[in-house]
Assembly symmetry: C2
DNA sequence: TTCTGACCCGATCAACCAAATTGGTCAGAG
DNA sequence: CTCTGACCAATTTGGTTGATCGGGTCAGAA
């Protein structure tokens, strides 16, 4: 089997089992069987179970960032903050393993959550201070909005969404996300039509490229 | 010692110890000693440790609701949703035991979290659907905003605030809350000056009275 | 060369018991 | 009468041991 597809199968199997049973209760052998290979084959690619987890985290983040970027690129208004936020939130909510990582879900991550979850900052503050600054330079954010605070607000709301997710229905979540995006649009963005949407899209593309490069490192 | 002040001491001691060591690790004797009385005296007032916890939960909620109401009453703009939300959030953030209840913090509540935390709905959805409806009738909420969704958004954001609280500084939290209130004001409330602020205040007072009556039951 | 699965051994778990702890009681002190 | 703290029963804890499990390896199958 080609290495690339085998790796992908391992990642898929591991992500599903981790979400279902937690990292601690999932054995390498179970992952291997779910991926249709033997345990030994897993160790041909990963030094250890921890290395597998770390690689899975990176992979999930890369796929996530790529998916968000794709949505932004396909969206005519993709360069606006409210749209970017909505796209990132939707994709985050659709990825159980990343959600667990984001909330440091102890049931899923077990002891792994205590040994500092690596590079979680990339998720936690995808839409970070620096990025918000760039949007402001493109006139896509009102000048009286503090970039740092705005970045924190988006992080807090995401955390709330991800945490409340299970107890709200999927449709309710969609409605909630819509209203949040609307709130962002009306109070943080300049009046409709203003601002350089293409610059926003470009800034986001570069942000994603930077994160991806770091994750690929 | 007068029963009332003794009860209050027990509540204070219990709340502090529960937050510090968790419900499971806090013994009734420790609570009694911290309250300056003997264990037996605790059992003069509460049937069991569980009954004490339940009573504490009710008490904390009643004090919380009363504190929010006091802030709302003292605020000239107290009837507006953004103000009410800000006041409730601030008070919630200032109450560690309620925060733990709100997030179902397993470290604090221990096994108690599994035996259905009673009446947590009162906190979770203080600003519930029905209340938002009344604000809308007082022209304090734009007619195109869905009451149910708005109520959920406020719940989600509160959850995010409370969950993220410890990792953000207190000052950062204040800034975040300010921006959230501003977002609520600009997109959910009608333009400044419109709406019957007194009606909003009255509606909130009645909401509080209703909740208090239920908690006192 | 690629991959398997039996094997190794340290970590974990289940079972058990004795000691300590704690929720709850109550005789009697104040 | 109010309240205390010694007391009890029941649960929990700490410690031990033997069995099991699971991460990681590698001889050899395919």
């Amino acid at each position: 089997m080609a290495v690339a597809v085998r790796t992908e199968r391992i990642f898929d199997a591991a992500a599903e089992l981790f979400v279902r049973y937690g990292v601690a209760k999932t054995t390498v052998d179970e992952i291997a069987r779910a991926a249709g290979i033997s345990k030994g084959a897993v160790y041909l690619e990963f030094r250890s179970k921890d290395a597998l987890i770390e690689a899975l985290v990176r992979q999930e983040m890369r796929v996530y960032v790529a998916a968000v970027l794709a949505r932004v690129e396909a969206d005519p208004d993709g360069g606006r903050l409210s749209r970017i936020y909505q796209h990132s939130a939707r994709e985050l909510l659709a990825r159980p393993f990343l959600r667990a990582l984001y909330t440091r879900d102890a049931d899923v991550l077990g002891a792994y959550v205590r040994r500092g979850v690596p590079r979680q900052e990339a998720t936690r503050s995808l839409l970070n201070n620096a990025f918000v600054q760039r949007l402001r330079e493109a006139n896509l954010i009102r000048p009286d909005i503090d970039a740092e605070v705005l970045s924190q607000v988006m992080g807090v709301v995401s955390l709330g969404l991800v945490t409340a997710g299970p107890s709200l229905g999927g449709t309710a979540l969609a409605g909630v996300l819509d209203l949040v995006a609307r709130m962002l649009a009306t109070t943080v963005e300049p009046p409709a039509g203003q601002g350089d949407v293409e610059a926003g899209r470009k800034a986001f593309a570069e942000l994603c490229a930077g994160i991806d490069a770091e994750l690929a490192r």
